[in-house]
Symmetry: C2
Subunit: 303 residues, 2 copies
C-alpha cells in the first residue's frame, strides 16, 4: 500500500519544562507525526523549512520510511516556536511563534504523492488542508487535526474540509467550541454529522475517547510517571494511530480501537523525553508491550 501522506509544520522548537530545556530542537506537527507513524508504515512529508534548517535535523530524518521529497526549502527562516511548561504540565505558555516561511506556504504534492491512500492533515490553515485534498485522487483515509484559532477564524473553510474527512482528532475544548455543545459527548456526536465517521477526543493525561458508528470507545493514557516534555503528544498519537490504520487498511471498529491503543502507546514514549528524542530510538516491540499493558490495565470481568 502507498505511504501515508502528512502535511503540517516543521519547526525549530525551544522548549522549557520542569525537566529541563532544549533550544532549536527539531519539532512541528509533521515531524512528530512522521517519526511516530514510520514505525508502522512509510510516510511522505509535505511541509516547508527555511534556508537556516540545520543539516543535522535533516540527517535525523534521513531514515528508511520517511520520504522528504515533498519538503520544500524556501528563502527565509524556518518556523519557530517557543513554549514553557509549568509544574502542571497540562498548562503551557507560548512565548514565541514566528511563522516565517510558513506564512507563504502552499503545499505542492510531488506527482507520485497524489495517489496516497491515507493522509494526515495536521493542524494548519483549513485552506491549505483543502489544497492538499484537491491534489489527491481518492484517498481511503483522510484524518484531520485543528485548533481553536481555525475554529474561530476559518470556520466555514474548516466545515468544508470536514465534509471530506473520515477521522477527526481534536480535544475537549475544541469539540465544544466547534459545536457549541457544553457536553463533550454531544459535541462528538454533533461533529460526526459534519462528515467524519470517527471522532477522537484527545484528553491528554486522561486518555482518548472515540465516537464511531458503533458507539463509544475509551482508552486511558499509558501511566507515564516521568513526564518530561508533553510537546508533540497529540501528533505522536495521530502518527501511531494512522500508522496502525494504514497497516490494517481499515477503519473498522476493531481496527480503530487497536489503532488508538497504538497511538496511546507511541505518545507515551514521545512525552518521556524532549522533542522527538523518545520516538527516535523507539522500536515496534516496545510499543507492542505498552499496547498489551493498556489492554491489561482496562480489562475487567463484568459478571
Amino acid at each position: 500500500m502507498s505511504p501515508i501522506l502528512v502535511v503540517g509544520s516543521v519547526a525549530l522548537d525551544t522548549i522549557q519544562t520542569p525537566a529541563g530545556r532544549r533550544a532549536d530542537a527539531l519539532g512541528g506537527s509533521a515531524i512528530y507525526f512522521s517519526v511516530a507513524a514510520h514505525i508502522y508504515h512509510p510516510v511522505r512529508v509535505v511541509a516547508v523549512v527555511g534556508e537556516d534548517f540545520p543539516p543535522v535535523h535533516r540527517e535525523i530524518l534521513n531514515r528508511p520510511g520517511i520520504d522528504l521529497a515533498g519538503l520544500q526549502v524556501a528563502p527565509g527562516q524556518t518556523f519557530r516556536w517557543e513554549g514553557v511548561y509549568g509544574h502542571d504540565m497540562n498548562e503551557r505558555t507560548t512565548v514565541v511563534t514566528e511563522l516565517n516561511v510558513f506564512q507563504q506556504f502552499h503545499p505542492v504534492l510531488p506527482e507520485n504523492y497524489r495517489r496516497s491512500g491515507a493522509v494526515f492533515l495536521a493542524n494548519i490553515d483549513p485552506l491549505l488542508q483543502e489544497e492538499v485534498l484537491d491534489q489527491l485522487s481518492d484517498p481511503w483515509l483522510v484524518a484531520l487535526d485543528t485548533m481553536n484559532y481555525w475554529i474561530n477564524n476559518r470556520r466555514q473553510e474548516l466545515l468544508r474540509v470536514l465534509r471530506r474527512v473520515n477521522l477527526f482528532l481534536l480535544n475537549d475544548s475544541e469539540a465544544r467550541q466547534l459545536t457549541g455543545a457544553e457536553n463533550v459527548l454531544k459535541a462528538a456526536e454533533g461533529i460526526r454529522m459534519m462528515g467524519p465517521s470517527v471522532v477522537v477526543i484527545k484528553r491528554g493525561e486522561y486518555g482518548a475517547l472515540a465516537r464511531t458508528e458503533h458507539g463509544w470507545f475509551s482508552i486511558p493514557a499509558y501511566p507515564v510517571e516521568a513526564l518530561v516534555d508533553p510537546t508533540g503528544g497529540g501528533d505522536s498519537f495521530a502518527g501511531g494511530m494512522l500508522g496502525s490504520l494504514a497497516r490494517q487498511e481499515s477503519l473498522d471498529e476493531n481496527c480503530v480501537r487497536r489503532a488508538m491503543a497504538h497511538g496511546t502507546a507511541v505518545a507515551s514514549f514521545a512525552v518521556e523525553e524532549f522533542g522527538v528524542e523518545g520516538l527516535m530510538r523507539l522500536r515496534e516491540p516496545d510499543v507492542r508491550a505498552r499496547v498489551r499493558f493498556l489492554s491489561q490495565m482496562t480489562r475487567f470481568d463484568p459478571d
Copy 2:
C-alpha cells in the same frame, strides 16, 4: 455477611444546576452512599440529623436494606448545604454550609453495629473517622473518603487513620495535596505507602484510576449525555463499589475492578437526576447493563 457500616453526613441540600433547582432535598455523603450501596448489600447508617429533619425524607429511606438505628436525632437544625453549578458542571460554587447539629456530632455505634465487616468512612473529620474505627472489632474492609480541608487542617489525624484503611478514594488534587507529588501516578503510589492497599483516584467525567498491589486499573466514566446534578457522584461511586465488594467479600484484583465498574455505573444513574432521585428507582439489572456497556466500551484486541 454483616451489613456495610457507613458514617458520614445527612444533609438538606439546595442545589442549582443548568437543569433546574431543588430546595432542601435529601442529601449528604451517608445518604448517597447508602442508597447506592443497598442495591447490592444491606447498609447501616451512622449519622446525625436535627429535629427539623422532614418525616418525608425518613420515609424515603425506609426501605429494606437501609438500617437507620444509628441515625441520631439531636436538638437543633440538620446540616445544610447549598451549591450552584455553572454550565461547566465540573465547577461548583458552595453558597451555604451550615454544619448545625453536625458540629457536635460524635458517632456512637449501636452494639450490633460493632461487628460490621465493611465500613465506609465518608468525608468527615478524621477524628470522627478514628472514633468509628475504635468502636469496630476487626472489619475486613475499611474504606475512606476525605477532602482538601482535612488534608490541610487534620493532617496528622488523617495519616493516623490511613494506616488502618485498606481502600482510599480521593480525587486528583487531593492526592497531589496529600503527597506533594505533582504527578498523580506517583501520588497514588505514595499513598499506598501510607496504609491503603488500594487507592482509587476519582476523576469525574474522566472516570477512575486505581493503584493496587498488581499495578494500574483504569475505567472511564459511563457516557452520560444529560448530566443533571453531579452532587453525590463520588459517594454513589463509593456506594456501588463497596456494595459490590461486600457481596464478593474480597479485595482481590478482579473483585476491585468489577466493583469499580459497578461504582461507575451506579454513579452515572445518580448524576442523571437531582439528588438521590435517580438512585431511588434504580434496580440491579439496570446497573448490570451499564457495567456490560463499560466492558464493551473499553475492550480492544491488542494484536
